[in-house]
């Protein structure tokens, strides 16, 4: 199977209504590991993920893949901070990405059922997705993203509104996905979570990749004063 990675951002910028949100960014996302994107509010974490995934259009520079963009889009998924729930039952929500890929309804629903079992959602199969609790919604979002077995998974602060137990469940799922060779890029505000999960870190500040590198090095010896302050829990403006 041809990998869609590396993903390369070359001098990439993103603007919204004339205001620069991110960039210029030069970054290469390699094929393995779990990358955590951290930084203060408004640093551009979400925009960077959206830019990489293709939800945010590049206003300058380039985002390129090892394969044509259409093929790359087919092999990645995105989990949003506020779960977007389709007005369907859980089983149909899970089956939907498979249906989009042309899978027959019965087969897609069978896959959805086994996927739900893996994610602990088997008792909720006939529940309406918008009626689930916050934690259940986020688990469903994650299951819906992983059901297509993406090569690359983006997560935008998936545990932002969850309690400790739900956060642990999500982290376990992510570690399993990583072990099954899913490349993960995730933004978070939670330094503890970043330390638990990260192989690599991207530290965003004022719309730019301020510092990046291996997690161990980043958390023990951050180079820039801003990264140092951020990892110490100081306020970075």
């Amino acid at each position: 199977m041809v990998s869609i990675l590396p993903l390369t951002l070359t001098n990439s910028t993103a603007h919204m209504r004339g205001k620069k949100l991110v960039g210029p960014v030069d970054y290469c996302l390699e094929a393995e590991g779990l990358t955590i994107v951290i930084g203060p509010n408004g640093a551009g974490k979400t925009t960077l993920l959206r830019l990489m995934h293709g939800l945010q259009r590049c206003s300058g520079g380039e985002v390129s893949w090892a394969v044509p963009a259409y093929d790359a889009r087919q092999k990645q998924a995105f989990v949003f901070q506020s779960p977007i729930m389709m007005r369907r039952r859980v089983v149909d929500s899970l089956a939907y990405p498979l249906r989009l890929r042309g899978m027959a309804k019965a087969e897609a629903r069978r896959n959805a059922q086994s996927c739900a079992a893996r994610f602990g959602l088997e008792d909720l199969l006939d529940s309406w997705a918008p009626m689930l609790s916050g934690g259940e919604k986020q688990k469903l979002s994650l299951a819906r993203a992983l059901i297509i077995k993406p090569e690359l998974l983006f997560l935008d602060e998936p545990c932002a509104n969850l309690d400790g137990r739900a956060t642990r469940e999500i982290e376990t799922i992510l570690q399993t996905a990583k072990a099954e060779s899913t490349r993960i890029v995730m933004s978070t505000h939670d330094m503890g979570q970043a330390k638990r999960l990260a192989d690599d870190v991207i530290f965003m500040h004022k719309g730019r990749v301020h510092e990046e590198g291996g997690a161990e090095r980043f958390f023990s010896i951050p180079i820039t004063p801003e990264a140092k302050a951020f990892t110490n829990g100081d306020i970075v403006e």
Binding site: H53, G54, L55, R73, Q74, A77, F78, F80, I84, M86, R87, R88, Y96, P97, L100, W128, P130, M131
Partner: protein
């Protein structure tokens, strides 16, 4: 009161003339609603999902067409279907098909406009998800129509409400011909013209009852307004 009793008697004795009128009313209206929904719902969804240069103007015109005067529509359809008109060769004037055509023209903008507003809100909610899932344009429209189906029912029922009570256009293109194109509204207009106000009122009650029953049935079948459904 005698007219009411007369109308009531006609209903319970299964008067064939009255039931013919009721069935034709339903036949014409339901056909028009189905055709207008097939056009209007995807049109509303398409307008919600797509961005193009004149989009705002198209939506403004569509909204304006919600208030199309039925007699003017009737006049245009009459001219189009009359012998000298471009579609005169089909011989459709003064037939139920002509009535359906007029009703479709009247209610399609209504259905499209209401569905556009419904789908626009749903699209704002689903936008990132469907783009992220790489759904094609037609897959997006299908998902929005499917997931918004209960809200879209309102659009369809609004179309039904307007069509079943419509009189101006179908009077012109249908001609109110007994046993051919006479429906409840045109029959009411005729009876009123003849001075049979009570009987006309009786028919009016039948019309209202019909509209209420159809709406209730559709709500029951589609399980709207039930807890924990979308």
């Amino acid at each position: 009161m005698s007219g009411f009793w007369e109308a009531w008697l006609l209903i319970i004795t299964l008067d064939p003339d009255l039931y013919e009128i009721i069935f034709l009313s339903l036949q014409v209206t339901v056909s028009a609603v189905i055709i207008a929904s097939l056009i209007g719902l995807p049109m509303g969804a398409w307008l919600a999902v797509n961005r193009f240069r004149l989009r705002r103007y198209v939506i403004a015109v569509l909204n304006a067409f919600m208030g199309l005067p039925p007699v003017v529509v009737g006049l245009f359809v009459y001219m189009a279907l009359s012998r000298a008109g471009p579609l005169g060769g089909f011989g459709l004037l003064f037939s139920p098909i002509a009535m359906v055509i007029a009703q479709v023209i009247i209610i399609t903008p209504l259905i499209a406009s209401i569905s556009h507003q419904t789908i626009r809100d749903l699209w704002a909610e689903y936008h990132d998800l469907l783009i992220s899932m790489n759904a094609t344009r037609s897959q997006r429209i299908m998902a929005l129509l499917w997931d918004g189906k209960r809200a879209l029912l309102t659009a369809t029922l609004a179309g039904f409400g307007r069509a079943i009570g419509e009189v101006g256009a179908i009077m012109i293109v249908g001609g109110n011909i007994e046993h051919a194109t006479r429906v409840l509204t045109t029959a009411i207009a005729l009876e009123t013209g003849k001075g049979n106000f009570a009987f006309a009122m009786g028919l009016g009650l039948v019309l209202i009852a019909l509209a209420v029953i159809i709406n209730l049935l559709i709500h029951i079948i589609s399980k709207t307004e039930r807890a924990r459904t979308w």
